[in-house]
Amino acid sequence: MNWLLEGFANLMNINSLLICLGAAFVGTMVGVLPGLGPGASVALLFPFTMFMTPANALIAVGGIYYGAMFGGSITSILLNVPGEVASICTAIDGHPLAVQGRGAQAIAICILSSFFGGMLSLASLAFMGVAISKLAFMFGPFEYFALMMFSICCAAGLGKGSLIKGFSSAALGILLAMVGVDTETAIFRFTYGQSALFSGIQVIAMVVGIFGISEVMLGIQENAKSISTGIKYKTKWPSKREFTLSIPAAIKGALIGSFGGMLPGITPSSCTFLTYSIIKRTGKEKEKFGKGAIEGCAAVEAANNAAAVSGFIPLLTLGVPTTSLMAMIMSIMMIKGVIPGPTMFSTNISITGVVIAGFALGNVICLILNLPLAGMWAKVAELPYKWLAPVIVFLCVLGTIVINNSYVDLWVMVIFALIGVIAKKTGFCTPALIMGLILGSKLELYFRQCVVIGWDQLLVKPIALVIIALMVVIVIVFQRSMKKTKED
C-alpha cells in the first residue's frame, strides 16, 4: 500500500489541492442547479481539464462528479427538486423531513452517509484494484473484445423502450468512431476529402453537445424554474436515535452501491432505486417511508456515492467503462495519454495513487463544503433559469473552442446538441451512442486481432466465453424488462 501513501504525499501540492477544492465546489454548485445532472456538469467542465496533468484532470472530473452527487441531495431535501435522477429517492423522504422542520438533520445524515459510501467504495477500489488488475493481465484480444461488447450491450439497455434502438445507436457510435485515419493502414475513412474530418470526430465536442447544450435546451422547453419552498435552513445535528437508525441503513446502502456500481450498465441512480426498495422492506420504521424516514435518506445517499466511486473500479482495472459518464472519463484519460486498464495498477500506479488520494480528499472537501454551507447551496438552486441558460451555453461554446480553436468542433457540438434534443422525442439511446464512439476504435482493434488469430481460438478462452454468456443473459434480462415495462 506504499503507492497509496505516496499518492497522498504527491497530492500535497498547491495545484492539486486547489483543483480538488475547486472541482468539489463547482461540482456541488452545478449539481444543485435545476436541470443539470452529473453528466452535464462533467460535460461542461470536461474541456477545461485539457490544461491539467493526467492525475489532476482525473481528480477534477472525479470531484465534479461526486460533488454533483452531493449537491443533488441538498436541493432534493430543501426544495423538493432533485438536481439529478439519483436524488429522486432522497427527495421522497428528505423533503417531508424538511417540511416537518428536520431538514438540517436530514441533510447532515445524507452528507455523512454519502461520505461513508464514497469512502467505502474508495477503499474497495484501492484494495480490490490490484487483485482485479492482476486478473486483467490474463486478458487477451478475445477477452477484451467480449468485455467491450458486454459494456455496449449494457449501455444499449439504458435506452427507453427498445433494445434495438440501443443497439442501433451503439452501431452508429461505432461508425462515427471510424471517421478519420485508420491507424494501421493510414487510409482515410468517411472523410470525403474534407481535411476537417481527418482527425476524426472530437469526443469532447460531441459530449458537450449531447449532455451540455441539449440539456439546457430541454430545460428551456420544460420552462425549468427554481422553486423556493420558503423552508429556512439552520445547521443542526441529528439526534442519537436518528444516528442509530441511519448507521445500519447507510452500511446496507454503501454495500449495495459499491457492488452495483461495478457492474456494467448499472448507474448510481438504478442503485439508489434498488437500495430504496430494499431498505423500505427491511427498515426499522417501515411506516415512515414516504413520509420522512431518515433511514431512507441515509441508505439512498450512501448507495449513490458508493456507486459513483465504484464505477471507477472496472474503468481503472479493466479499462471498461460501465456507464456513459465513465466512458467520458475514459476518453479524458486517453486524450491525456493514460490508457485505463491493468497498467493503472502496475506501470501507472503512481497516477492511480494520486487519483485515489485525490478522490478521498475530494470526499472530505465535499463533507466540509456541504455540511455548513447547505443553506447557501439551496440559495444557488434558486437562480433563475432564464439567466443560467445563456451563461451555460456560452460556457459550453468556450469549453469546446479552447481545445483546438476549431470551428468544426463547434459545428459538431451543435449537431450533437440537436441529436440530443431529438433523442428525447424518438427514444434514441445517447449513452449507447457515446459508448460506441468511445469504445469503437478499441473494439475494432481487438476484432481485427481476433480475426488474425482465428475465431476458433475463442473456444479455448474460458474467460471470454463466460463474459459472452453473461452478455447473452443481460440482453435477455433487458429485453424482458423492457417488454414488461411496455405492457405495464
Binding site: F51, S162, I164, K165, F167, S168, A171, L172, I174, L175, M178, D182, E184, T185, I187, R189, F190, I213, M217, L218, I220, Q221, E222, N223, P384, K386, W387, A389, P390, V391, V393, F394, V397, L398, I401, V402, N405, Y407, L410, W411, V414, A417, L418, V421, I422, K425, T426, F428, E444, F447, R448, V451, V452
Partner: protein, 181 residues
C-alpha cells in the same frame, strides 16, 4: 398559406420525422458504410477482408441495415398512432380553445428553437467577428429574449467581458475577428 394549414403541415412533418427519422438515418448510414468499405477494399486489396480497415466497417453497415427493418416497422406503427392522436387532438381543439398548459408548452418549444437558432447564429458570426464580440452579442440577445432585466444583462456581460479580456493571461487563446478582438 393560412395559419391553420401551416400548422397542419408542420405537425404532419413533425410526425413523419419522429416516426421515420431514425430508421432513415440507419438506412443511410448503413449504405454509406457498405459503400465506403467497398471503396477501401478496392483500393487496398487486403487479403483477409475482415482483418482490414473495411471488414469491420461492412459488418457495422450490415448490422445497421438489419436493425433498420424492425425500426421501420415500429416507425410505421408509430406514424399511424401519432396521426390518430393528432386527428383526435384536432377534433378536440376545434371544439374548445387551446388550454393554458398547451399554450405554455408551445411557447416554450418555440423559445427553445429560437435559442437554438441564436446559438447557430453565434457560431456563424464567430468567424468574422471573433469570439469576444460574438459571445457578447449572443449573451445580450439571448438574455433579453429569455426575459432578463437590463441590469442583470449588463452585469453578466461585464463579468464575461472582463473574463474574456484576461483569458490570454491564463494561456487560453480564442479566435479573433476582423476587429482584432
Amino acid at each position: 398559406m393560412d395559419k391553420g394549414k401551416k400548422d397542419h403541415v408542420i405537425s404532419t412533418l413533425g410526425i413523419v420525422l419522429v416516426s421515420f427519422g431514425l430508421p432513415v438515418l440507419y438506412l443511410v448510414t448503413g449504405i454509406m458504410a457498405l459503400l465506403e468499405a467497398r471503396r477501401i477494399q478496392a483500393k487496398l486489396q487486403v487479403e483477409k477482408f475482415f482483418a482490414g480497415p473495411s471488414g469491420y466497417m461492412s459488418i457495422i453497415g450490415v448490422v445497421l441495415l438489419l436493425l433498420f427493418i424492425p425500426e421501420i416497422i415500429e416507425g410505421m406503427k408509430k406514424y399511424k398512432k401519432n396521426l390518430q392522436k393528432y386527428a383526435e387532438k384536432q377534433a378536440i381543439s376545434k371544439a374548445s380553445e387551446e388550454t393554458e398548459a398547451e399554450k405554455e408548452r408551445r411557447i416554450n418549444t418555440n423559445r427553445m428553437w429560437i435559442v437554438f437558432l441564436m446559438l447557430t447564429g453565434y457560431i456563424v458570426i464567430m468567424k468574422p467577428l471573433g469570439f469576444f464580440t460574438s459571445s457578447i452579442a449572443f449573451l445580450i440577445t439571448s438574455m433579453f429574449y429569455l426575459g432578463n432585466k437590463w441590469l442583470t444583462v449588463l452585469i453578466t456581460v461585464s463579468v464575461v467581458a472582463v473574463f474574456l479580456y484576461f483569458c490570454p493571461n491564463f494561456g487560453i487563446t480564442l479566435p479573433k475577428g476582423f476587429l482584432g478582438i
